[in-house]
């Protein structure tokens, strides 16, 4: 059922937005999209399948939050990557670590204002000592952090990216 909403959301956004080819400019366009009212909020058990899919796609999972300045800075690169590589079976999923009390005041308005098209999942699971190592043993817990994987390969990055560097990493999964 929740997928229906996402599909609807995608179609609404894509209608409004079909002429733009540079997601980098999204923030400045001034397009007012109606604010989203729903958000997929998962605990880690519900998120985990998204980190371990065995299909033919390559997944780019970015851990971020609206309060994390370097995350917000690089978010357009993930949006651009999602748009540029969707035909090559790449899917970007943005896992937000925003505080639940700020879902309505910060996260939802941010998603609407920035016209985010990648799938956003809000992870609400306080027991980070349990789930951080399940994402990657080496992760100390700092964000931004990114997991790129497909059924053959996975790589974890506890760092910020510029677009070119992110694209270079992704390409290693597409050979």
């Amino acid at each position: 059922m929740k997928y229906v909403f996402i599909i609807v959301l995608f179609s609404v956004f894509s209608c409004k937005n079909e002429k733009k080819d540079s997601p980098l400019a999204l923030a400045d366009t001034g397009i007012i999209s109606s604010q989203i009212t729903q958000l997929e909020v998962y605990d880690f058990n519900k998120l985990e399948p998204y980190l371990n899919k065995k299909d033919d796609k390559t997944y780019v999972i970015n851990f971020w939050a609206t309060w994390c300045a370097p995350c917000v800075k690089e978010l357009p690169y993930y949006e651009k990557l999602n748009a540029a590589y969707s035909k090559q079976n790449v899917e970007v999923i943005l896992v937000s670590l925003d505080f639940p009390r700020q879902y309505d005041s910060k996260l939802k308005p941010f998603i609407s204002k920035k016209n985010i098209k990648s799938k956003v999942i809000a992870l609400n699971d306080v027991d980070s000592n349990r789930w951080i190592p399940l994402v990657n043993e080496e992760w100390t817990g700092a964000i931004p952090a990114t997991l790129i994987y497909n059924k053959d390969k996975r790589q974890f990055y506890e760092q910020s990216f510029e677009y070119e560097a992110l694209e270079t990493q992704l390409k290693q999964f597409l050979k």
């Binding site: 370097p70 306080v126 951080i132």
Partner: protein, 203 residues
């Protein structure tokens, strides 16, 4: 037989190389001796761990003004100091961010935050950002519990304060308190390393 020898040699080489590569530049592991420092406090004084003649150890906390996770823990950090300073484990807070990148963490902002919150412990600027990389801190807040030994200040615990940043009342495990309590009673620390989400240190 020859193959076996080659195999054993290879295994030996592999284990050697993997051992040497473990520590690298990743900072301290449990049991390492932590460096002392001379860093400026919000009151203008220069603070070193060696100033604390009577301390049994330290709760060193890399934290800042601007990170929401750090903010969420400010009151709990004050409580830690109030509870453990008199028992010999004072809190020493160090602000690791580059204030040119994160102006909200400059010395003036640190001073006003320390005053506003009523910090009972030193809040030090990691001038030049030279100390946090030696510890291996990657985020705020990031906690190192040290115990004073003959060798120096030995790292006994690395990680989070507790297991619920959102709600102090819903905390199940108080990692730092458990670690310090264990040190005070001569017991073994159950969780010596824990992980939590935090804000990356701004360089």
């Amino acid at each position: 037989m020859k193959t076996l020898k080659t195999l054993l040699t290879l295994i030996a080489i592999f284990s050697l190389t993997s051992f040497t590569s473990i520590n690298g530049d990743k900072g301290y592991e449990i049991g390492d001796i932590a460096t002392d420092f001379k860093l400026q406090n919000v009151d203008g004084k220069i603070i070193s761990l060696s100033d604390y003649k009577d301390a049994k150890g330290f709760i060193v906390i890399f934290t800042c003004n601007t990170c929401p996770y750090a903010k969420a823990y400010e009151d709990r950090i004050i409580k830690l100091d109030k509870k453990y300073a008199d028992k010999g484990y004072p809190v020493i807070a160090i602000m690791p961010n580059n204030p040119n990148v994160q102006p909200g963490d400059n010395m003036d902002a640190m001073k006003s935050n320390a005053k506003k919150k009523g910090f009972t412990f030193p809040y030090l600027m990691d001038e030049g950002q030279k100390i946090y990389p030696q510890y291996g801190a990657t985020k705020t807040p990031h906690i190192y519990v040290l115990q004073k030994t003959k060798k120096g200040n030995e790292v006994k615990y690395i990680g989070a304060i507790d297991d619920n940043f959102q709600d102090e009342n819903a905390v199940n495990t108080r990692y730092v308190e458990n670690a310090v309590d264990a040190l005070l009673t001569g017991k073994e620390i159950k969780d010596t390393k824990t992980k939590a989400i935090g804000c990356s240190i701004k360089v």
